[in-house]
């Protein structure tokens, strides 16, 4: 990771050398939008980088500064869906496609607002939702899509999960599993999530701290403070950040980093 990450990119300095995963992680959506308008990023940057690019709050949280291909990420908490969409936004801007497998309730307009390009979004509906059908469709999606967002159905046998993870590593896709967001109480500890990650490499807890803008009979939901805690297999200690999701300008921004004892 470079020491200083530029937060605005000048168009004339965009060359094949500067166009790496590092520069792409700068400045969330502004960089993504700028690059997308100027150059076909997927061809220049090479579609088989080891990591998918992510926006700046995530690059400080994730162990390798990006979404490592072949890994599975579990997100739980009251802000899980928005966090999952924000996680894949920059990668989709940069040329990857995202599949929503078995999650018909994801708000597409919210995805668009956080920066996910809807012309690279595909939804796969599974009916009936049995573990074997889910695993089959997930495997087919991983063949063609770099990012797959799904919700692991209850009672999936271990052998199916292991096959899913093998396929994930073989194809180099990224799996984002949104846990049922019932665990939104502040008492939900990080260790609870680690226990039921079912083999995830990175585990995220996205907790809503407070919504701002709504009064009693007036106002509207405008901003939300979210606390994101990330733990993972190759992380010695947890990382935690408080951020806006969405913030005053509509994006996903860090407020402050919190030291985890």
């Amino acid at each position: 990771m470079p020491e200083t990450v530029p937060d605005t990119l000048q168009v004339d300095t965009l060359t094949a050398d500067t166009l790496t995963a590092d520069t792409l992680t700068a400045g969330a959506l502004t960089a993504g939008a700028l690059v997308a308008d100027v150059l076909p990023v997927a061809r220049l940057a090479g579609s088989r980088d080891r990591c998918l690019p992510v926006s700046s709050p995530w690059s400080a949280l994730l162990p390798e500064g990006g979404l490592v291909r072949g890994q599975a990420v579990t997100i739980a908490g009251g802000a899980a869906v928005s966090a999952a969409l924000a996680l894949v936004a920059v990668a989709v801007q940069a040329g990857s496609w995202v599949a929503l497998v078995g999650v018909p309730w994801v708000g597409v307009e919210a995805a668009h607002e956080v920066g996910v390009r809807l012309d690279r979004t595909v939804s796969v509906s599974i009916d009936p939702l049995t573990p074997s059908v889910w695993a089959e469709r997930l495997a087919a999606s991983m063949d063609g899509f770099d990012a797959v967002i799904t919700q692991i159905p209850g009672r999936v046998p271990d052998r199916l999960l292991r096959r899913v993870h093998q396929r994930l590593r073989a194809r180099g896709a990224v799996l984002v599993d949104i846990r049922d967001p019932t665990c939104s109480a502040p008492t939900c500890s990080v260790s609870d999530t680690v226990r039921d990650t079912a083999g995830a490499d990175v585990s995220v807890q996205a907790r809503t701290v407070a919504w701002e803008g709504l009064g009693r009979g007036c106002g509207y939901l405008a901003r939300r403070r979210v606390e994101i805690t990330v733990t993972g297999r190759r992380m010695p200690r947890a990382r935690r950040v408080e951020c806006w999701l969405p913030g005053p300008s509509g994006g996903f921004e860090t407020i402050e980093t919190i030291e985890v004892p």
């Binding site: 969409l85 919210a110 668009h112 607002e113 796969v124 599974i126 087919a140 063949d143 063609g144």
Partner: protein, 547 residues
Amino acid sequence: MNTPNLGPESSEVLPRLVTIWCPDWPVIAAKLTRVPAAMTAGVPIAVVAADRIVARAPVLAAAGVHVGQRRRDAQRCAPEMVLVDHDPDRDARAFEPVVRAVADLVPRLEVIEPGWIGFEARGPSRYFGGERALAERLVDLVTGLVESPVGVGVADGRSTSTIAARRAATTPDAIVVVPPAASAAYLAPLPVTWLRAVGDADGDLVDVVARLGIHTLGALAALPRPDVLARFGLAGVRAHRVASGADDRVAVASEPAPERQVERIFETPVEEVAPVVFVAKQLADALVGALMAEGRVCTKVVVTAETEHGERTERAWYRDQGLSAPAIVERVRWQLEGWIAQPGGISAGIVLVRLAAVVVRADDGTQVGFWGGRSEADDAASRAVTRLAGLGGEASVTVPVWRGGRLPNERYAWVPALSVDLDRSVSRPRGRALGRGRDIGPWPGSLPVPSPAKVHVAPIPVEVVGEDGRVVRVSGRGEVDPPPARLVSAGADRVVTAWAGPWPVDQCWWERRRHRRLARFQVVTADGDALLLAVEHQRWWCVAEYA
């Protein structure tokens, strides 16, 4: 060249081509296949794809509805019209009988799209005793089969023939025969907007030309070609050629090299269309990939399929902009479904499918596609889409299309991914305009940004009560009584810490069936969750969550 070109190059010989054109075929197809929305008598219908009008009944033209218009603008012009979603498969199925009937008369035809057939005039016109006789025979044939207006145009070259057929559709006897070498004179008085009919001159070029004061094709043809090239580039030269009566590109008549033909022979006959289409996708990818490596693109492909008993279907498909792999697969599917659905059907499984690229031309980069062209990721995604559609059915793989509305689940429609030709990005609003952007103005009555991240597929019934336990009611004047204090859902009783509303919706009040009157509320509960609630007929629902 000192003199302005007023016709095709003298070395070019343009074949006489006949074009059969059924205007607004998607509308006719909706009626023929008995789409429920289209069956009310006396109500004009229009077909919509991705929020734009694709085809409309002729009576709507007077009201100001035209192809390419945004849905809301069209509805403003003609509120009584009924809208039907575009389904290219439905159009192709409805057009099959017409193609088969014309194929009985004319052995070698090519289908450009449902509603549009072209073929060479020389053989059939001699057989039927002249071009006019042939055209009359075709008009009788088509009008006898389907209740559709039709136009038959006979002229030198494909572009003039196309324009002639479209003009013929508006004349009483539905036939226009342009004498040989008289194309330029025929086209001269026509307005430049006719360039759009030919297929690849886009709206921007036509607008610029019109603003420069060139209003007729004759005026465009009178300009010296080198100047047109300098000012407008290759697209302008093509338009200039069309205006002069030539084809937009010089025809290349060469036999395809053997490797421009791909086929697959099945060891065990295949009874269903889906596996054959899956194989066709691989073949089409291989064919288009090989051509692209040479810098060429296929404009005419012949699709052949044979059964074990020797029954055969062979059809030529043409598209001016070049056929991409998904476009070829789409046409293979139409052809196979039409073949199997014909009276009598086929008596055995399919053993052979072959794609032959008959006419290829150098790819001069005018293919409309994604910005930057297709990348490896795009190709991988579209292969995965085909595979998933094969596993779960076409309707299981969908892409979001902007529709607009006041409730979160109405804003976007999910459209089967295979029915959207990913190359036709001109007809879909581009990335930015998919939800916001300069194109689409503010939607009156829409909810403020940020939008909820979790939108329930079916609204969940909840109860909202005040401090005293009474259910919260919203009066017609927007008074909320009592103020919400607790939210009861799924057995859990949560305290409401903040709320706002009512934001009323009163839509389609002029139509009893579709009238909806509800009020929306945003609510935050004690555990920090934010929800979007709606109350309709005094019943509360949770529509979405800000998860």
